[in-house]
């Protein structure tokens, strides 16, 4: 049932084949990137990385940016989060232009983004400096519980496994109660079994807290399993090639016909269609 809200916000899919869908209207959208272009200057030559990317996302939506490594998705995510200034174009969140990073939109790096000199509690409580001590303690306890790190409150990151560090980083991000989360290939450094676990964890957390999530990945399966909409991006300079609406109700059955249809459609889009 959770999925229906976001399906209503995006446009209806007409056919059973994979179709490109238009974006939510800017007024309703939580996030709106318009004509974002990014050109880097390096060693005297210009390197175009993003070309005229326009994307909207609604409140509470789970959007995946999918593309091969190095195509510019991370750059785009950094622009959305306010860490980079686009060469052209602008980003609006809640109708206001993005001027820099903000605690209401937390960026989740890969697990090496946790602060190694702080314990688990220290990391989760990092952004809570405006809270009273009592509130901070209770919030830390709540999020330790939510991500399943009970018993490790006093542990340091180097004593944790990769999956645990990733969960810690998500907890740190959630503790400040942001509106939006940007995740940049967060599961990339994990082994594939842990990755599967983390995907369901993330969905569970998302369904409980309902943040707007923009998730960057190069893993097609991951994108289809997690997202409401998958934004397929081309290689550099990255443009939006196709936006695919994933209209399967969660929990998603990865052997269902619709899933395989969507997956094949995207593979074809990327140019890796299965021959014969």
């Amino acid at each position: 049932m959770a999925q229906t809200v976001s399906t209503l916000a995006s446009t209806f899919v007409a056919t059973s084949k994979v179709a490109s869908v238009p974006q939510p209207k800017p007024l309703q959208a939580k996030l709106c990137a318009e004509g974002v272009t990014m050109i880097f200057k390096r060693n005297g030559s210009y390197v175009p990385v993003l070309e005229d990317v326009t994307l909207s996302a609604s409140e509470g939506e789970f959007v995946c940016l999918l593309g091969p490594s190095g195509c510019g998705k991370s750059t785009f995510l950094n622009i959305l989060a306010g860490f980079l200034v686009p060469t052209q174009g602008r980003v609006l969140i809640d109708g206001k232009a993005v001027r820099g990073p903000d605690p209401r939109r937390i960026f989740v790096f890969q697990e090496r983004g946790v602060f190694p000199w702080l314990t688990v509690s220290g990391n989760i409580g990092f952004g809570l400096f405006k809270c009273s001590k009592k509130e901070r303690t209770s919030r830390i306890a709540y999020y330790v519980d939510m991500v399943g790190l009970q018993g490790f409150e006093g542990a340091y990151p180097h004593e944790l496994s990769g999956g645990m560090k990733q969960r810690l980083e998500v907890a740190r991000a959630l503790a400040v109660n942001p509106d939006m989360l940007f995740l940049d290939e967060p599961f990339g450094a994990l082994d594939s079994i842990t990755r599967l676990t983390m995907r369901s964890e993330l969905l569970r957390i998302w369904e409980a807290e309902r943040k707007t999530i923009i998730f960057v990945t190069h893993d097609i399966e991951e994108a289809i399993q997690l997202a409401d909409r998958v934004v397929v991006m081309s290689t550099r300079p990255a443009r939006i090639q196709r936006i695919v609406n994933i209209d399967i109700i969660r929990p998603r059955d990865i052997s269902s016909r619709r899933y395989l249809e969507l997956r094949d459609g995207i593979l074809e889009e990327i140019g890796l269609a299965h021959k014969g």
């Binding site: 903000d102 605690p103 937390i106 790096f109 090496r112 983004g113 190694p116 400040v176």
Partner: protein
């Protein structure tokens, strides 16, 4: 060739002791065999050490050297670390100051002796100034590099959570740079110890360095010379072990994952 070997505990003590004993034996026999009258054998050195203890010089001179190191080193650290933080944080400032540092650094602190004697006369102040000078540049460079090597990911995360610049430096940059700063502290302490001995040879009349030169000058007491050298080595080693303890602190240990 590099196959991992398992050692019994006794091996960790046996081999070093064996090496030390072999060295002492070689020393002893080469002195005997060459028939020298001046160069001391290990036994002479031992007797020399006992004499130093007896005359009360051992502790007094060691403390002299240590206190000079303490003053010079600590003042260098107290100024150098904040300065390094600022320089590391503002790349423009670092670019500005860096060439100056690169030119002054190769100048041996000893070369500053005439200048420091001219300014401070012979005595403790001159020596402490030299130690300060010798410690200042390594620690400021180490701090600068520590700050610059903080992955920008941490800085971005700090800003993401809405930290003010002051908080950013205090809560993110400094803790992240701390392992490298601590290594810098250790290396600088080693340098300070080397310099104090050298400074004492020229500029003062007490301390272990002075003992080395004076033992030779007043009576060719090479047994005391070597005894003083060994004391210098042992005290320096003690300082090194003490400061390595800091690297074991939990809030810094994360930076030294693959160390012995």
């Amino acid at each position: 060739m590099n196959a991992p070997l398992q050692f019994d505990r006794w091996e960790r003590y046996f081999w070093p002791l064996l090496a030390i004993n072999i060295t002492l034996a070689l020393w002893y026999f080469s002195v005997r065999w060459s028939g020298t009258e001046i160069f001391p054998s290990p036994l002479d050195v031992e007797r020399g050490m006992a004499e130093l203890v007896h005359r009360g010089l051992l502790w007094r001179y060691t403390l002299n050297s240590l206190s000079r190191v303490a003053f010079g080193y600590v003042s260098a650290v107290l100024i150098g670390i904040p300065a390094g933080l600022v320089l590391g944080w503002y790349p423009a400032a670092a670019d500005m100051v860096n060439p100056l540092i690169q030119v002054i650094r190769p100048v041996s602190p000893i070369a500053w002796i005439p200048v420091s004697i001219a300014w401070f006369g012979i005595g403790d102040t001159a020596a402490t100034f030299l130690i300060f000078l010798a410690s200042f540049f390594p620690i400021i460079v180490a701090t600068m590099n520590g700050v610059r090597n903080v992955p920008s990911m941490y800085r971005c995360a700090g800003r993401n959570f809405g930290l003010s610049p002051a908080n950013l430096i205090a809560k993110v940059v400094l803790p992240a740079a701390l392992p490298q700063i601590v290594v810098g502290l250790r290396i600088t302490l080693g340098i300070a110890w080397l310099v104090v001995v050298a400074a004492e040879m020229i500029a003062v009349d007490s301390g272990l360095g002075y003992l080395v030169i004076d033992s030779r000058n007043s009576g060719k007491r090479y047994d005391l010379v070597v005894a003083a050298m060994i004391l210098i080595g042992l005290t320096g080693l003690g300082l090194d072990i003490a400061i390595r303890r800091i690297e074991k602190l939990k809030s810094v240990r994360w930076g030294f994952r693959n160390e012995h």
